[in-house]
Every structure is written in structure tokens, then in C-alpha cells.
């Protein structure tokens, strides 16, 4: 019966998370390769991980007040603990057993004295009433007898699904919610959640801001899923890192001090022994965790990289689902995801090994201490120096303290786990972003003359030489067409204008200023680039346009849309200009998307406008309209068009013929056509020969 039921919904088991071709040992080794093309050397040393930990502290400056409040509130809450523990003793001794309470006679720590004086000489029930009233007030204020405050949601069995809790649930660190309940607890909890949220959000925003300003050459190597993973799932660990290194030790030490203070009044000799044994625990723990800390770093690193690789696959498939489906690659893509997901889970699982190993070693190493204590104290019991009850109390104390001291010793180990994630965040923060290569602050005024290229060459990092010794002058008021066979460097040349690419030799001058010497933002604000790929955001058409020019009025938008012949189809859309586009604009035809991209470029109203094969998906009529409207607006701007279509090229004032990264010819159509055997003429003839006369 069960089988029948199940058969109907058979689960795909082609790839279990058990990695059959991997050994556990291979999981411990360095050099696992995932999708990373930028961040490829993830091994870090102890010094580096220390630096990473310290670095996280910088973001505390954005949450100073919250941080201090949280710390203060938590510290204040130590005080009630000093009193409430003794209440039970009073109830038992002086209420139930009805021992008369004489303040100076009983064995209480000094801070209890004022209360004892109040209670002194009262009836048992009267004492009970006073204490219970304090309980009730405490219950509402600080949650006495009700426990702490906190709220977590369930997570899964991988890092990503626990990230949300790490941000808002204060999970993972020693600093979970509030130890108090009641009104105080809720307040403290609120502060603590806001603290971690603000901190992490600030870090996320900073990372996000840097990622989106990555230079063009790096965007090519930056996987979307990976960036997503780092922004969303790696950042929370930086905060956990801080709580681990600051709060845990602080409150462990405070707690220890207070326990010790209270012990001193009861078992002064034995408490020294216990504290001494505990202190031994720290060096032992640190010593045993030196080697595993390297593994933990490495394996956490790999676990997260594998998770990011899974995200990459998923993101890529989802974003290009039409390509996947029309090429019939559903099955292979599913298997690719399944394999990566399985691998990521496996990585997450074997990352448990060093932890478990450390646990075992610590248990074994710590055993002699417990053995010695048990042996020593039982000897005293057997020989009649201590009572049976004393043993229970002392050993209970030992077990309680042991946890805290082990925690101190494992501090460094815990930090490794988070440092691996934090490293992934900081690595991308450290990469040079676009504007840092320029001179920030050196603002460029409105461009008046134009752009000049002086002996410009460009070599890609892989050594491919895209442009060689280019000398060109492009003036405001011109329409310039860049022409040449595919792969000749047209786009690379055009990329130089908004400084998407920086020349590797020579200079690009805008109004006689070297672009490397001016503020990038002031240059980019005056340029507009329309790409071959038309990337639209899945938002409304209006919002897609206002991305390019936030100041654009409705009128400007309509004008741009008309110039790009968009209005004819926008009018047919249900919400007109406010229609929300589907995934990456997929609800529109490719030609329509391209026209919208062009409109977006136009609405920017920039001084320099580059159209990179804008017309590939346009029919000739639409294209003619577009070029005409560009013509009419070209007086105070420089329009650069990369085109194959003759009808477009001919309308340019200046044609730059490019081949193999070199400028072969420059001039107007007529000039160039007059060159017998000129490459442009040859190009045109070929085009014409395949076109009707």
C-alpha cells in the first residue's frame, strides 16, 4: 500500500548527497575548485584570519549606540542573578523549615545583607509574601522565573538556510536574544536584533556597493550566483565573529568572577583547586585546536564555495530558462544542479568532521582533569573531610565551569569557521573598483569639445591585444560609425569612451583631460551606452527608464520612447508605461526589448552616446527612424554607433574602419569610397553585392 502511494510520486535518487567519487580525506585537502574565477586561492593563514576578525570591528562604528546599549543591558542583567539564587534558600530555610532569620547569623554573601535585614524577625508566611511579591514584580519587569527572550525560526542543514536566523534571530553566537524576560527582556531582545540587522545590513550594502562598481573586465568573471551568495549568506558570519570574540569571553569571565565570589564564601579551598584545573583547560584546548583550525577554515571555505556554485547553476538556469527549454537541456541542467547540490551538502557535512574530532580530543584530554578532581574530592569524602552533599555541589560546579573554560579555549576555533565566510566577503571588498583607478573629486565639467585618443592600446589580462595604437578625434556634434569585421575590437574601442576599459597604453582625453585623472562619476554621468545585449530589469518600463535618468519627466520619457519607436507597442500594453516587465523583460519580443534599451539610453540625454549594434534586432524601417531622430539631436552631442547595416553607416559624419584592433581608415562615406582598394570600399561592395540594387 505504502509502496503504491509512493510509486506515484517517485523521488529522483540519481544523485544522493553521498559523494561516491570523493573520499573524506579529499575533503580535508586544499585546492578544491568550484566556479571561482576570481577568488581562486582561498587558503588563509592564522595571521590573516586574525586580521579578518579585527577587520569586522570596523563596522561597529555604524551601530555604536545599539552596541553599547546592548552591552549595558546585558551586563545589568547579571545583578538580579546575584540575588534570586538565594531566594530559594531563604524560602526553604526560613519559611518551610521555619528557622528564625537573624541577619548576622546566616551564611549569605554580603550583598544580600540589606534584604535579610528587612526580613529579619518576620513571620514565615510574611517572608514568603515579601519574596513572592518581588517575584511577581520581577516577572513583569525582567521575567523572573520565566526565562529569557528570543525567537528563532527553523533552519535547514546547510549554511544558506541558516543565514536569515543569523541576521535576525541572533542564532549561532553565544549571544542569543536576551537572558532576561519580561519588559526588560523584550527591550533588550529588540535592541539585539536591530543591532545584528543593522550591522549586517551595513556590511551587505557596502559589499553590494562595491560589487556593482566592479570594473567591466571583472564583471565577465563574476558569477551572479556567487555574488548573491556572498551578499546574502556570507555576510552574517562577520557579526557572529564579533559576538564570538567580544561578548562570549567578556561574559564568560564576568560569570566566572561572580561564581568564584559566591564560592569563596562556601568552599574556599576546593574552589581554588577547581579554578586551577579550569585554567589548565585553556592551554590544552588551544594546543589541541591548532591543527584542526586550519582544516575548519579550509572546509568552511569549500562548503561555502560549493554552496555558491550550486546557486550559480540554479541562477543561470532560471535566468535563461527559455534557452534551456528550447535547446532541450532540461535534463542535463537538472542533473548539473543535482550534482552540485549533492556536492554542496557533502561539503557541508564533512565540514563537521574537524569539529567532531576536536570534540573527541578535548573530551579525552580534558578527562584527566575531571578524573583528578573526582579522585581528590572523593578521597576527602571517603576520609570524612567533606560530606556527600559537598561532592555533589563541587562536581556540579566543575561541570558548569568546564563548559565555559572550554568555550574560551575553543574561541579561536569558532572564529575560524566565521573567518572563512568573512574572508569571502572581504575578498570582494578589497578588489579595486572602477572609480578608485581614477581621481575622485576631480570633476569634469560639461563636455564641450569631444574625445581624443592618443596612441591608445588595450590588452586584456589574458594577454589578448584588442586595440593597437589608436589615434582618433571624436568631436561633439558628430555621428561616428565604427565599422569592421566581427571581433576586430569595435566594442573594446567603444568601451574606452565611458572608461569601461582603461587603456593599457596611450591616453584617452576628454576635453583635453586624461580620463584617468578625472572623477569617473562625472564622466559617466555624461555618457550613455546602449549594449548589444538588452538587459532590462523586471520592473515597470517607467522604472527602467528612470534608472537611466532619475530626473526625467514623463515628457522626456515619452519622447525617448517615441524616438526608439516604442510607443506603438507600449500603447498596447495593459498599463502602458507602467507595465511591469517579466523576468529580465522576457514578456517582450527581443526587438521590443532592444528598442526599450535604446529608449533608456536616449532618456539619459548624455553628451556622449554610444550605440553598440543597436539595430541588430530592428527592422530597417524602425532603424531608419531611430537614426533620423539621432541625427536631429546630434548637434550638441557625440553619437558613436557600432553598426553593420550600410544604411546606418552612411548617415555617419565620420566612419572609423577597424580591423584587427587597428584603425585602417577614417573619413566620411564618400571619402572612403573614393579610395580604390580601400578596405572600407571592399566592405561596402561586399555588402552591396548581397543586397538588391
Amino acid at each position: 500500500m505504502v509502496r503504491k502511494f509512493i510509486q506515484k510520486r517517485q523521488v529522483d535518487r540519481t544523485s544522493d548527497t553521498t559523494q561516491k567519487d570523493h573520499t573524506i580525506v579529499s575533503g580535508f585537502k586544499a585546492g578544491a575548485q568550484f566556479d571561482d574565477r576570481i577568488d581562486t586561492a582561498p587558503e588563509i593563514s592564522h595571521v590573516e584570519s586574525l586580521r579578518i576578525v579585527l577587520r569586522g570591528f570596523k563596522w561597529l562604528k555604524y551601530v555604536k549606540v545599539l552596541f553599547a546599549t546592548r552591552w549595558a543591558m546585558r551586563t545589568v542583567m547579571i545583578i538580579p542573578g546575584l540575588f534570586l539564587g538565594w531566594f530559594a534558600k531563604i524560602v526553604i530555610d526560613h519559611v518551610i523549615l521555619q528557622v528564625p532569620l537573624v541577619a548576622d547569623d546566616v551564611n549569605f554573601p554580603p550583598h544580600m545583607h540589606w534584604l535579610l535585614e528587612i526580613l529579619e524577625g518576620r513571620e514565615p508566611l510574611n517572608i514568603a509574601l515579601i519574596l513572592l511579591t518581588i517575584y511577581v514584580v520581577g516577572l513583569v519587569l525582567i521575567g523572573t522565573r520565566a526565562g529569557g527572550t528570543g525567537a528563532g525560526l527553523y533552519g535547514g542543514r546547510d549554511a544558506a538556510s541558516n543565514a536569515e536566523n543569523a541576521v535576525s534571530g541572533n542564532q549561532g553566537g553565544a549571544w542569543t536574544g536576551s537572558e532576561a524576560g519580561g519588559i526588560w527582556g523584550i527591550t533588550e531582545w529588540w535592541v539585539s536584533v536591530r543591532l545584528s540587522q543593522r550591522f549586517i545590513n551595513r556590511l551587505r550594502t557596502d559589499l553590494f556597493r562595491r560589487l556593482i562598481r566592479a570594473p567591466m573586465t571583472r564583471i565577465d568573471d563574476q558569477a551572479v550566483g556567487d555574488s548573491l551568495y556572498r551578499t546574502l549568506y556570507d555576510t552574517p558570519m562577520v557579526f557572529t565573529n564579533i559576538t564570538e570574540t567580544v561578548f562570549s569571553p567578556f561574559f564568560i569571565f564576568v560569570g566566572l568572577g561572580l561564581t568564584f565570589y559566591q564560592l569563596w564564601w562556601t568552599y574556599s579551598e576546593a574552589s581554588m583547586l577547581i579554578i586551577g584545573l579550569m585554567a589548565l583547560m585553556i592551554p590544552i584546548t588551544i594546543f589541541t585546536t591548532i591543527a584542526p583550525s586550519k582544516w575548519i577554515r579550509r572546509m568552511t571555505q569549500n562548503q561555502r564555495a560549493a554552496g555558491a556554485a550550486t546557486t550559480n547553476t540554479l541562477e543561470e538556469t532560471m535566468n535563461n530558462i527559455s534557452a534551456v527549454q528550447s535547446l532541450g537541456a532540461m535534463k542535463t541542467e537538472k542533473e548539473r544542479f543535482a550534482n552540485r547540490s549533492a556536492h554542496a551538502f557533502w561539503r557541508a557535512r564533512i565540514a563537521m568532521f574537524p569539529w567532531l574530532g576536536v570534540g573527541i580530543i578535548l573530551e579525552i584530554v580534558g578527562w584527566p582533569l575531571g578524573f583528578y578532581l573526582a579522585w581528590h574530592v572523593t578521597n576527602m569524602v571517603i576520609e570524612g573531610q567533606l560530606t556527600v552533599g559537598d561532592f555533589g555541589a563541587l562536581f556540579g560546579m566543575y561541570m558548569g565551569l568546564r563548559g565555559s573554560f572550554q568555550g574560551l579555549g575553543r574561541l579561536w576555533l569558532n572564529v575560524q569557521d566565521q573567518a572563512a565566510a568573512a574572508r569571502r566577503v572581504f575578498f570582494f571588498m578589497d578588489l579595486v573598483v572602477d572609480d578608485e583607478e581614477h581621481q575622485p573629486g576631480n570633476k569634469l565639467g560639461p563636455i564641450e569639445a569631444g574625445v581624443q585618443l592618443e596612441n591608445v592600446g588595450f590588452k586584456y589580462p589574458n594577454g589578448h591585444e584588442a586595440l593597437k595604437d589608436i589615434n582618433l578625434e571624436l568631436r561633439i556634434g558628430e555621428i561616428v560609425a565604427i565599422v569592421g569585421p566581427t571581433g576586430c575590437g569595435k566594442t573594446s574601442l567603444a568601451y574606452l569612451l565611458p572608461s569601461f576599459l582603461k587603456p593599457t597604453s596611450g591616453r584617452v582625453l576628454v576635453d583635453d583631460h586624461d580620463v584617468m585623472q578625472i572623477d569617473l562619476e562625472s564622466l559617466r554621468r555624461q555618457t550613455s551606452y546602449i549594449f548589444q545585449e538588452h538587459l532590462l530589469l523586471s520592473e515597470s518600463i517607467r522604472s527602467n527608464l528612470s534608472l537611466a535618468n532619475p530626473d526625467a519627466t514623463e515628457e522626456d520619457m515619452v519622447k525617448a520612447l517615441e524616438s526608439a519607436s516604442c510607443m506603438e507597442f507600449i500603447e498596447e500594453l495593459p498599463d502602458g508605461i507602467d507595465t511591469v516587465l517579466g523576468r529580465s523583460g522576457d514578456t517582450l519580443s527581443v526587438g521590443q526589448q532592444q528598442r526599450l534599451s535604446i529608449a533608456r539610453g536616449l532618456v539619459r540625454n548624455a553628451k556622449i552616446m554610444v550605440l553598440d549594434e543597436p539595430t541588430a534586432a530592428l527592422d530597417p524601417q524602425t532603424e531608419n527612424l531611430l537614426v533620423r531622430s539621432l541625427r536631429s539631436e546630434a548637434d550638441d552631442r557625440l553619437v558613436v554607433v557600432i553598426a553593420h547595416r550600410l544604411s546606418t553607416i552612411r548617415q555617419a559624419d565620420k566612419i572609423v574602419f577597424l580591423d584587427e584592433g587597428e584603425v585602417k581608415e577614417v573619413g566620411s562615406h564618400e571619402e572612403l569610397m573614393s579610395h580604390e582598394d580601400g578596405p572600407y570600399r571592399e566592405f561596402v561592395n561586399l555588402q552591396s553585392s548581397t543586397q538588391p540594387a
Partner: protein
């Protein structure tokens, strides 16, 4: 006689099968399938948008649990093993714990001789045994050795202590190994369960029609597959086992409390009423907040994904700060939602804690008065044998107080669990939502064999409109024969690409049919259809990976020679060999490192390598220069003999190569024929179109 019994046995067996076994199975099967159907229906009403606050809970929760079972099924034995093992261990620890605490406290520390079994496990001789377990002779021997009575000597106590420490050490090691296994093993199990669910979701998504995908953000899919599906690992532990254990404890604690005094029990029960009422009141609020939390976090994921996917545009428009602002808005929404859902839980648990705390403190006062007036408890008389709780004293106060605390604590624990479960179920419903989407395009029940020899491809009066109501095709009739090239021409947005999408069954027509060899393509398997088509798409989508992987995309078995030949036909070989690693070069994110002309040639090669009877080229040459285009088209013409080829293009030079031209306007084929035929139509649309292409030339000549 033997035969008689045999026959009788068979008869009874037959009766059993006929009247009991079979009907029961049938009924159970019917029941199970209706249960399954019901569960699907329930989760189908899943939460598509944040405004929908789910109402019925018990039913939906049950449905979600049932839906999770199949993904746990393959791990069933392991799950059973873990729970069984856990149960066995708790028994083991109970037994060893009792014996060792008796040994340690009563025997070693307080000083008492041992029970026989204790002596055996500690490997000590009879001088350690209590006298009642020794016979006369042994007693005599023990007495002679000087170990009289039921007290141990100091040395004996130390020996016991030392040997117990040895045992503790061994037990510790055993415990560590167990802890190791018990943390690794369940991880493996639940990761697998989560993995199955993820893969099922991805598989489903891959096969859902584009209509679905257009209206859903990629980031949402990522969030559901990552975050929402991960909730499945908690279903068994938190929904089934956890509450069960809590209930058991609650029951035992209640029994004790009632035994002490019914008043205590009644007060406890009464205190549950306001807790339950408040929880019932708060549940929908928390649920709504939980939905909001997941939706806003999913939106944040989408925002980040979309931004990174469109990074170039952001750069070109200098829109970094705008994008950061938008990110900030979404991030704050998500963080606020995360805070509020938790605040809902915290506030509820605050109220419940106050109620519970007041009950605990109030009862404590009551107990104290009872102790002082030495009131009799309600504990039955026979219990005196075990405990001295007949009147209220210190011990009974302690015990009763502890139990009351336990009852109230468990009650509060339930409220907390309940809150967390709301979120868990909402997560799972969101995950199952994908699995429940009825595919708009699906395989036929009885598929036709896809023909080996494609003769004709035809659109018969095809109408098509998108979900949003945009009508694209209004009755297209078009036929293409094998061995011909059909060019589809028309202005942007006239439905050219849609026409091809219908042939691939990315969508199904709203009315009319697409046929191959006169068989409706809805009668073929989706996989068959797509396996027999090759398409070079207008959007030159490349995937991260090597050149070869991209060309052989979706063809895991393609060999290198095929790939190379395809690249030669598409004129891609020439630039590939110049790349740093040739065919093994990594192309970067979505092939970003190539120029658009190069990308286009790769997509053409990708279509060619599939070697299919039907080839669709959607603007294949838009980014190619005339020379390359010419060569590519020549190669293609040669290669595509006997195939059905569709060309969508604006370029006259390309169109002229076609045998048949279909001119598409406002969703209809308004003209079709060869280039020369169509040009001869005076005032024909195609003719006007061709003339427009030449306008550019005319214009510039005028200047």
C-alpha cells in the same frame, strides 16, 4: 488427510484474499490516493502573495506533512534506524545511570556493600558483597579476612571509586563515538531529504512553460529552492517527534500534580485556557508576518540577483546609487519583516510567560501555606512505601513545585513550538507551490512516435495570446517543406519568435494547431520535440563554462569532432582556435568574454551540432559583418539540405537566400512566396519593406 488440510488451507487463503485482503488494499489505496489528492489541493492554495493570510491550519498542516513523506521515503530505513537507536540509547543510559549512581553515591560515598551484579561489573571479590547475598561458608571466609558487616573499608571504597572511574572513561569514549555518529548520520539523512525536494523542484521548474516563468522572478525560485525547501528537514523532528515527547512529559507531570492535590492540577489546566485563547488569537497574525517575512526576503534575493545579472546596464547608466537605494528599500523591508515576525512570537511568549509565571508564583504561595499548616496531601496511602509525601513538607513542596513548573513550562514550550511551526509550514507550502503548478504544456497520455523523416511543418489557423492578454498571433497559416528554407519576415513585435516558440512547444497555441507530418505536435513527447529541433536564438545566451560545453549544450554525449565540425560550419572555429585554450577556453559569466559576433557564431554552431531535422535560426546573422554572414549562410545552405529550415531575419541579404518568404504582420501571414514573386506584387507589404531597407541608401545619397 494431509491433502485435505492443504486444500482447506488454500480455500481459506483464497477466501481471505478475495474478501478481506483485496478489498482492504483497494480501499486503502483509494483512501491513500484521495488523501494524496486532497493534500495536493490543500497546498495548491499556497501562498503566492503576501496579502493572502492562510486560514485553515490543521488541514493544511496535515497536507504539508503528507506531501513531505515521499521525500523522506528513500531514507525511511535510516530515519527508523536513527530513532530506534536513539530510543535504545536512552534506555541504555537510564539503566547504566541508575546502577552507577547507586554505586557511586550509596555504595562508595555513603558506604554500603555491593549488589552481586555490581560486584561482577567492577571485578571485585565477595568481600565487597552485602551479607544477604553470601551463604554461610562464604560469610565465614569473609569474616576471616576481616571484612565483616555491610560496611566497606576505606581501601575498598577507593578501589570501587578507581574502577568506576575506569568505566566512566570507557563510557565516555563510547559516548563520544556515539555522539559523532549521531550528529553525522542524521545530517546525511536530512540533507538527502532536502536534496530530493530541491531536485524535484528544479526539475519541475525546468519543465514548466515559459508563461509561468515570465511572471515569476528568478530570485524567487532561488529563495524557494534554497530557503523554503530546507524546512522539510524539520518536519519529522519538530512536528511529529517533538510534540509527542512533550505530550508524554506533560501527561506524566500532570499525573503527579493531580496526585498531590487536584486543586493544583485544576489551576494548571485553567491557566492553559487563556494561553490557548491568546495563542489562537495571535496565530493568524504570526502566520501573516511569517508569510511577509518569506516574501520580502525572497524579493531581496530577486533584487540582488537581478542587479548582478544586469550589472553592465547599471554601470552604463551610472545608476549605482539608484540601485543601492532600491537594494536598501528591499533590505529594510526584509529586515523589518524578520523582526516583526519574531516580535510577534516574542510578544506572545511574553504574555504566556506572565500567565504561567503568575500561576507558578501563586501556587507556590499556596503550597507554602499548606506546608506551614501541615495539610495532608492527596497522595494515596500505598505510596508511603516509596515516598514520604503524606503531608506537605519540604520534600513534597520541592517535588510538587517542580512538577507545576514542568507543566507550565511544557505548555509554554508548546506555544513556542506552535509559532515556529507556523513559519515552517508556510515555508513548505511555498516550496510545494512549485510542485503543484499545473504545467500548461505537458506530455500527451499516449504519445505518438516522432517521425524519423520530417516532411512538413505546418501552422494551421494558429492563434496565440500571452497570459497578460497581449494577443500576438491571429490565425497564422504556414507550411514548410523539408529541403527548403523559409524566411519569416516582419516588423519588430509582429510575432516571428512566438511562431517558433510554438513549434518548440515552449507555449501551446490558444487555438489552432502546429503539426509535423500532419500530426499535432501536442501528441509528441516534449523531449522528442525538443530533441528534433535546433535553434539559434536571437538572444545569444551562452552559459558559464568551456567552449565545447556551450556548443554541446544539452548534449552530454556529443563528441569533439562533431563540435569542431559544427564550429567550422558556423565559422566559429577560426576564432576559437585563437583563444588562449582553444576549445577548452572558459567563457566567463554567460560568455561575456566574447564579442557579440563571436557569441552569435557559437549559438549557430550549437544549433548545428544537434544535427536535427528542423533548424530554426532567429536573427542568426544580426551581429555578423557582411563577409562572415555570407560565409556562414553559404555553409548553412550546404549543410541544411533535406532539413526544414526557418530563418527569422531583417536582413535582405539573408532573406534572399530563402526558398519561401512569409511576411508576418499583426499576427498573420499576409504574404508568402519567393523573393521575386513577392517583389512583383505592386504595393505589396514585402515590397515596401524591401524598399525601406534601401531608403537608408537613398537618404545618404541625397545628402
Amino acid at each position: 488427510m494431509r491433502n485435505f488440510f492443504l486444500a482447506l488451507g488454500q480455500f481459506i487463503h483464497a477466501l481471505f484474499i478475495e474478501y478481506i485482503s483485496r478489498p482492504t488494499t483497494r480501499r486503502i489505496n483509494a483512501w491513500v490516493s484521495s488523501l494524496d489528492k486532497w493534500a495536493r489541493q490543500e497546498t495548491a492554495r499556497a501562498l503566492a502573495d503576501e496579502n493572502e493570510a492562510p486560514e485553515v491550519t490543521g488541514k493544511r498542516m496535515l497536507s504539508v506533512i503528507i506531501r513531505s513523506v515521499p521525500y523522506m521515503r528513500p531514507m525511511f530505513i535510516h530515519i527508523l534506524a536513527v530513532f530506534g537507536f536513539g530510543f535504545f540509547l536512552s534506555l541504555l543510559f537510564l539503566a547504566t545511570g541508575t546502577i552507577s549512581s547507586d554505586l557511586w553515591d550509596n555504595k562508595m560515598m555513603v558506604n554500603d556493600k555491593l549488589q552481586p551484579a555490581q560486584a561482577v561489573v567492577l571485578f571485585v571479590d565477595k568481600t565487597y558483597l552485602r551479607s544477604e547475598f553470601l551463604d554461610e561458608q562464604e560469610l565465614e571466609e569473609v569474616r576471616e579476612l576481616g571484612f565483616e558487616g555491610n560496611k566497606l573499608t576505606i581501601d575498598q571504597r577507593k578501589t570501587i571509586r578507581n574502577r568506576m572511574l575506569m568505566w566512566f572513561f570507557a563510557g565516555d569514549i563510547f559516548g563520544i563515538i556515539l555522539a559523532f555518529a549521531l550528529s553525522y548520520y542524521p545530517s546525511w539523512i536530512w540533507q538527502n531529504v532536502n536534496h530530493y525536494l530541491r531536485v524535484a523542484m528544479v526539475e519541475k521548474l525546468e519543465y514548466l512553460s515559459l508563461t509561468f516563468h515570465h511572471s515569476n522572478r528568478s530570485g524567487d525560485a532561488i529563495y524557494r529552492i534554497y530557503q523554503d525547501s530546507s524546512m522539510v528537514v524539520n518536519v519529522l523532528d519538530e512536528v511529529v517527534v517533538g510534540p509527542f515527547n512533550d505530550l508524554r512529559e506533560l501527561f506524566i507531570a500532570f499525573a503527579f500534580v493531580f496526585a498531590f492535590d487536584p486543586i493544583l492540577g485544576i489551576v494548571c489546566i485553567l491557566s492553559f485556557i487563556p494561553m490557548a485563547v491568546i495563542t489562537a488569537y495571535a496565530t493568524p497574525i504570526i502566520r501573516r508576518l511569517a508569510v511577509r517575512n518569506r516574501v520580502t526576503n525572497s524579493n531581496l534575493t530577486s533584487r540582488i540577483q537581478e542587479t548582478f545579472a544586469a550589472l553592465k546596464v547599471i554601470k552604463a547608466n551610472n545608476a549605482e546609487s539608484i540601485v543601492v537605494d532600491r537594494f536598501d528599500v528591499d533590505a529594510h523591508k526584509a529586515l523589518d519583516a524578520a523582526l516583526y515576525v519574531r516580535f510577534g512570537m516574542v510578544a506572545l511568549s511574553f504574555i504566556v510567560a506572565i500567565i504561567g509565571g503568575l500561576v507558578i508564583i501563586g501556587l507556590e504561595y499556596l503550597l507554602l501555606t499548606w506546608v506551614l499548616e501541615e495539610r495532608e496531601t492527596n497522595v494515596p496511602g500505598w505510596a508511603i512505601v516509596f515516598v514520604g509525601f503524606m503531608v506537605w513538607n519540604l520534600a513534597s513542596y520541592h517535588s510538587a513545585n517542580g512538577r507545576v513548573g514542568q507543566v507550565i513550562g511544557t505548555g509554554r514550550g508548546f506555544v513556542r513550538l506552535w509559532c515556529m511551526l507556523q513559519d515552517l509550514f508556510i515555508g513548505l507550502e511555498r516550496a510545494f507551490y512549485f510542485l503543484d503548478v499545473e504545467p500548461k504544456v505537458f506530455d500527451p497520455e499516449v504519445p505518438e512516435q516522432f517521425p524519423d523523416n520530417v516532411q512538413t511543418v505546418a501552422w494551421n489557423d494558429v492563434h496565440f495570446e500571452y497570459e497578460n492578454g497581449a494577443k500576438v498571433l491571429h490565425g497564422v497559416d504556414l507550411t514548410a517543406q523539408a529541403g527548403t528554407i523559409t524566411a519569416i519576415v516582419g516588423v519588430t513585435g509582429s510575432g516571428k519568435s512566438t511562431l517558433m516558440s510554438l513549434l518548440l512547444r515552449l507555449y501551446d497555441p490558444t487555438s489552432g494547431s502546429v503539426t509535423i507530418n500532419d500530426v499535432d505536435i501536442r501528441d509528441f513527447l516534449l523531449d522528442d520535440i525538443r530533441r528534433n529541433h535546433a535553434i539559434a536564438m536571437q538572444k545569444n545566451v551562452l552559459f558559464t563554462g568551456k567552449v565545447t560545453d556551450n556548443v554541446a549544450f544539452g548534449l552530454p554525449d556529443a563528441d569533439f569532432d562533431d563540435v569542431k565540425r559544427a564550429c567550422e560550419i558556423a565559422c566559429a572555429d577560426e576564432f576559437i582556435t585563437e583563444l588562449s585554450d582553444g576549445y577548452d577556453t572558459n567563457l566567463g559569466e554567460r560568455g561575456a568574454k566574447l564579442s557579440s559576433g563571436q557569441r552569435q557564431r557559437l549559438t549557430i554552431a550549437r544549433a548545428i551540432v544537434r544535427d536535427t531535422p528542423i533548424l530554426i535560426l532567429d536573427e542568426p546573422t544580426a551581429s555578423l559583418d557582411a563577409k562572415t554572414e555570407h560565409r556562414v549562410l553559404e555553409n548553412l545552405a550546404e549543410w541544411s539540405k533535406d532539413r526544414v529550415v526557418f530563418l527569422i531575419t531583417h536582413r535582405l541579404s539573408t532573406i534572399r537566400n530563402a526558398d519561401n518568404i512569409a511576411f508576418l504582420e499583426s499576427g498573420k501571414v499576409i504574404e508568402s512566396g519567393s523573393h521575386d514573386d513577392l517583389l512583383s506584387v505592386t504595393d505589396g507589404r514585402y515590397r515596401r519593406f524591401v524598399e525601406a531597407e534601401e531608403v537608408g541608401l537613398v537618404d545618404s545619397q541625397v545628402q
